[in-house]
């Protein structure tokens, strides 16, 4: 008879259930918060990637614009009815980006060592007869090159974010 006797203590008591639920809630609520934070971070990174890609594509367009047409602008640059560079507000997804172009004149200074073609014994096809002079600088301050910067800005949780990419455009018609 004693063998079949089992104490009636199976199952969970109410106190155990209460404490279990409290511990689970204490764990799940912060985890849910962290998951939400992670999801928001993913969306923020996606907006930044979109801005970088937009910046890249606009700067590629800017490289193909002629030297004289490349000027500071917040609005689309067009010539002869043809759009050369799309600027201004662009909406992608649920975010509005503002694209602008900043252009700064860039003076250039080229260094080289000239050859004295009037030196005695100079022969155009014989390198050993060439006399190199001291290096000099060729300075071109105006209209030689421009630094073009595309700025893409957007609002992220009330804060302004921006991405800038720069390149150099030389006046090859000079």
């Amino acid at each position: 008879m004693r063998r079949f006797y089992r104490p009636l203590n199976n199952g969970f008591s109410l106190i155990e259930i209460i404490f279990s639920v409290l511990i689970l809630a204490g764990t799940m609520i912060p985890i849910a918060g962290m998951m939400g934070y992670g999801f928001e971070g993913t969306k923020r990174d996606q907006r930044q990637i979109t801005a970088i890609q937009l910046c890249q594509s606009r700067l590629n367009q800017a490289m193909s614009v002629s030297f004289d047409a490349l000027v500071n602008s917040n609005t689309t640059i067009a010539s002869g009815g043809q759009v050369l560079l799309t600027l201004g507000d662009v909406t992608q997804g649920n975010t509005s980006y503002n694209v602008s172009l900043q252009v700064v004149n860039r003076p250039v200074s080229y260094r080289y060592a000239p050859v004295d073609v009037n030196s005695p014994g100079y022969l155009v096809d014989t390198p050993s007869t060439w006399v190199f002079q001291a290096p000099i600088l060729l300075d071109i301050n105006d209209n030689a090159a421009k630094t073009a910067t595309i700025i893409v800005s957007w609002i992220d949780h009330g804060k302004q974010q921006s991405v800038e990419l720069s390149t150099i455009k030389a006046n090859l018609q000079l």
């Binding site: 080289y112 990419l165 090859l172």
Partner: protein, 161 residues
Amino acid sequence: MKKFLHAKKGMALVIVLTMSLFLLVLAGSYIRENSYSRPINERHFERAQADFLGQGIVQLAAMKFKKRPAEFYYAYRAMRAGLGDASLRAYLNEDTTLNGIFSDQHNSRYQFSTQMQLITNQRYQTDGIRIIVTVEQLSEAGQVLLTRIQEHILEAVRRPL
């Protein structure tokens, strides 16, 4: 001993604590994965900036060749003839327009340098001027973090003097 092994009081707490620990580990690994994406975005941006800078310096090098082609030919041919590379270094390496440092909006520094080579075709009286611009992104300590190379070939037709 048998009674101890069959005891079930307090098992709920043990189960819940184990599950909570498992969930915390999952959440921690998810956050760590998420933290990798921001550095990847920065690398993407820096690579794009290095590429655009390289393209710009290629344009400046092309303009220099256009303004002073003879000096490049003299310097290059003197170097090939074994007369030293001082004039070629003056044309390329010591030119501060074609070699220098650029800083972007995040104050990341990019060091750029330019090389030019002459590819001659005697049969067709044409030359190819190969422009190679190397852009290296530097850390604050001066270590190279990223290297990008832009290359462009100009075609030049030789005319008899």
